[in-house]
Symmetry: C2
Subunit: 643 residues, 2 copies
Amino acid sequence: MFELRDRDGLGRLGRFTTPHGTVDTPTLLPVINPNQVLIPPAEMRARFGAQAVITNAYILHRSMRERALAEGVHGLLDFDGPIMTDSGAFQQHVYGGVEVSNEEIVAFQRDIRADVGTVLDRFSEPDHTPARAAKDIAETLFRTRVASEMRGGLLLAGTVQGSIYPDLRHECAEELSKLDVAVHAIGGVVPLMETYRFRDLATVILAAKEGLRPDRPVHLFGAGHPMVFGLAVLLGCDLFDSASYHKYARNGRLMFSDGTRHVEDLREVPCECPACSTATVESLRTNERLRAEHNLYASFAELRRVRQAVADGHLWELVERRCRSHPALLDALRELRHHNEFLERFEPLSRRGAFYFVGPETQHRPILHRFRACLQERYHPPKRFVVMFPEGARPYAAARKAEIARLLQLVDSHFLVKSVWGPVPIELDEMHPIGQSIVPETLDAETLEGLEVFAQQFLRGAGYEGGVLWRGEETFDDVPAEVMDRGAGTFDLAMARLHAVAGMQFGRGAGDALLSGRIEVISSVRTGKVRNVIRDGKHILSLRAEDGFFTLKADGARILHAVFPPPTLRVVVETETAEFNRQGKNVMAKFVTECDPGVRPSDEVLVVDGTDALAAVGRALMNREEMLAFDRGVAVQVREGVA
Amino acid sequence: MFELRDRDGLGRLGRFTTPHGTVDTPTLLPVINPNQVLIPPAEMRARFGAQAVITNAYILHRSMRERALAEGVHGLLDFDGPIMTDSGAFQQHVYGGVEVSNEEIVAFQRDIRADVGTVLDRFSEPDHTPARAAKDIAETLFRTRVASEMRGGLLLAGTVQGSIYPDLRHECAEELSKLDVAVHAIGGVVPLMETYRFRDLATVILAAKEGLRPDRPVHLFGAGHPMVFGLAVLLGCDLFDSASYHKYARNGRLMFSDGTRHVEDLREVPCECPACSTATVESLRTNERLRAEHNLYASFAELRRVRQAVADGHLWELVERRCRSHPALLDALRELRHHNEFLERFEPLSRRGAFYFVGPETQHRPILHRFRACLQERYHPPKRFVVMFPEGARPYAAARKAEIARLLQLVDSHFLVKSVWGPVPIELDEMHPIGQSIVPETLDAETLEGLEVFAQQFLRGAGYEGGVLWRGEETFDDVPAEVMDRGAGTFDLAMARLHAVAGMQFGRGAGDALLSGRIEVISSVRTGKVRNVIRDGKHILSLRAEDGFFTLKADGARILHAVFPPPTLRVVVETETAEFNRQGKNVMAKFVTECDPGVRPSDEVLVVDGTDALAAVGRALMNREEMLAFDRGVAVQVREGVA
């Protein structure tokens, strides 16, 4: 039903299949008001790129029941693509007096042959008490159970409620995950968005996501402003629906990815969309339909940018930019660091292209949280460190590399650079994201403070209180004479790099395991960087230029398999399907029975059968909970089968 | 020739008149290569909104000299709008061997009847020595002098050079300002933009701007990436020219206001411009012209957004967002705080709408620098302060206002709120930008540090070392008993507000001057806020709801005129034109002979004649140096003539 195609943060490029076709997510379902069709669904698809639409079953039930049953919702809306229907729960909540029961409205949605229908959930307001919210959850879950028993061919959207209480949201999400629903909706968030409580919105989404099983699309009910799409996708929302394009248009407002603008304030047409490019300020002021068209173009273009950012692995950058559009969005961004333990589990190992520092929030990205955690857990610290302050803000200038290498020889010790990202042993300076980072020359105080705190944490953790030789700044002239006088050392930076990366990537001890025996190193003629590692004549590892991590070859996999006991690095598949993996075929998620909880998307993994016999080596596309949950899609891209 | 229509930061909405028509600035002149016209100028105008184009006189001179002289450049390009020509200085610098002299190429530009022609200046590279750059400046200025004597009907662009040396840029700009040129160009910046040295770019532009007379448009040579338009306009650039739209397209690159994207990296069409909205990833990959069209749409749309931001007074916000697109742009943004003395002189008094905090850089905006400076210089501090920490990050919650007012009565003292923006006496909490500010709930360490530093500076400056009664946090339960026990005081917040705002706006002592005698206050029935101040039966002041500043009435102006000696608050006009101002007509810049250097755009001013007789009261649209420099446009919008 839902398939994962690509990812970044908790954001996913997915494919959601319904009876009337497949939807590429994340996407927006524009609300079609059957009583007042401003832009018909077919035009929504052709001109704006809508893949599916949503309409209100309650309105259909009230005002055109017989016709809807006879023609079906697809006939009624003259649209052959996926149609989702809403139950009227929101209307019931806001206006009261929706005289229809959960059973009635679910049956109706089924009978008008909607692709996805919605349970009549109970809406909790942000100011409801926990007790009241808990009661509404119980009722919502009860109704969802009832609905799931009578759904027939209808795919159900079950809604996570729980007001602003993370525990309740989490609990509701966990219960919902056990039920037969196809879509997980997050409800009760419109009041948060309307009052710009984006920090609460982020907290609520994350609490729900932590409780939800990962193999179903997550629908953020009522979200339709392009300003929030980036953030919501980063937090794992896949579907949006909204009548905002029309509501905003009616009030003279244009939506942009950086906020809202009233047409009365315009002196210029500040947009290049097809609606605006032929419009004048005057026509935007007088023409509601033109404004609605703009709002749709702006929304779908932003979703394309967001999807592109997921594909590029640059979604965090996009969100860091978008969150400068309003102080309340900045609050949401600053909240995320408190959820790093969760966020990190889904964060891919590396991504393409440069890693930008664009504010004090960048330092707290999950991938850097992971880097610092791995440094504590997996890096094998040397006896002595020379601690170096960053030059400008970069770990060090490329031009200084030769000088540093010479110094390393002299002092027979390691360098630890106090970088913006945390402490970076010099052997790890080419690893993602350190090696790909671009940092301003001037830094804010929070970042400088963080840099110091992270370095001290690491040094203390590694027992370095007294072992730091030098804390010089900028130049090497400050290196104490006793350090310089040690004479030529035996420090081999290239070999130290291989050891350190192996440890960080595969676990402490991996370096020693892989790099014993007769080691040959093949380097790039052009860059001088290590490319392949040969042990006793066998190619065990390749070092990737783009992210500084190893690609594991079959012979390298055999070594790690022998050294590390299960579950480390393992993806366990059903024994009868392991044969296919031995032949080089990918591991499908549905055949995975267990997985190392330490595996992250893009990690190198060992594919084993039920007896822990090595079947293949490859690249994980999911983490453990995803592999176990998904019935569709590739869990491991197999590189080599192991016969 | 150049007229100022609106402003924000150093950014200006201007109108530049040439023989072939008027150009609304800021704008981009796309480069037309006469040998290879990808998009003809007429189409540039009709489809993309180009108001003027630029072409290379050197190429015309070399390859189609006779035709150009016969048809004129307008005939040759088949364009009847403004055409600027470049001299080939850049080509001479990059490729060498431009065998044409300054005299030849200036005469040629004149003779092909270009609207604006360029001196053959000497290009300095960022790595040139100061001595070499100084020599190039001397030669450039010499050539500009020669050109100005032979220009005929040609408007000249004279170029500021000086490599990356602020002193040299400044000096060159000052000299150039004395010469007969119509446009001030800033040259030698392409190498800075190509290497993302945006901090140097900002420094160079500011150094030039400080030296340039303000009544001519400033052209940033070779700037054509939408990523830099916001920043460059904020720093006072009015014209841009670039072949980038075509060069980038040729290399498969699409330009966006947040960076560049290569078509090979696209999976989606991440844009809604007319070129992209019918394009596919495939057509963008194969069609260079389509890419060039996108680049033009993106550039002109960004310029419209920038112009709109100037009109809104939200240009700083736009630039703070844009500068998150690359770490090097963030460096440029962080550089600006060091130029606040200069930037503040041009910053309007207030602007419409909310003032957003979006990062540690916001705290250093020129308008806040001014607020803090005025507080030191113009605010009359009370004997005692109760210092209050911000609640959350806001100065204080609106809900607490009543409680605070009650406490003020009890302690008979003033509150000083340590806000994000600096220390804010409670009487000034409705003044722009304090009263219009929206601040996140969580703040970065740099901002919190700044808050503390600014508060301490103020308290020390005002001699409060020992005079602070209470440094409580959050609740008033911490107020010491001896404070609470003082009993009912006489503190009148409404009157304190009027005094404090008058002082901040007009100068220390203005409150006592204006608010003596029998004072009646007329308040809004709806909001309870003061609207009008009547003294001895005469309406002297109105307090504006939108920014918390006073509007000065004629009777108020008479008081200030009597109390403050010249030049304070004065705009001096030629005595024979003062009569028109007495009748309520606006003050045109060309009739201004002097002005208080303290006057800022949007300030209330006293219009006086040569004998210091009061002629009118109104709102300044310019600061002193602009009033004295401009020959066109309104310097003071007169509200009331004083008979």
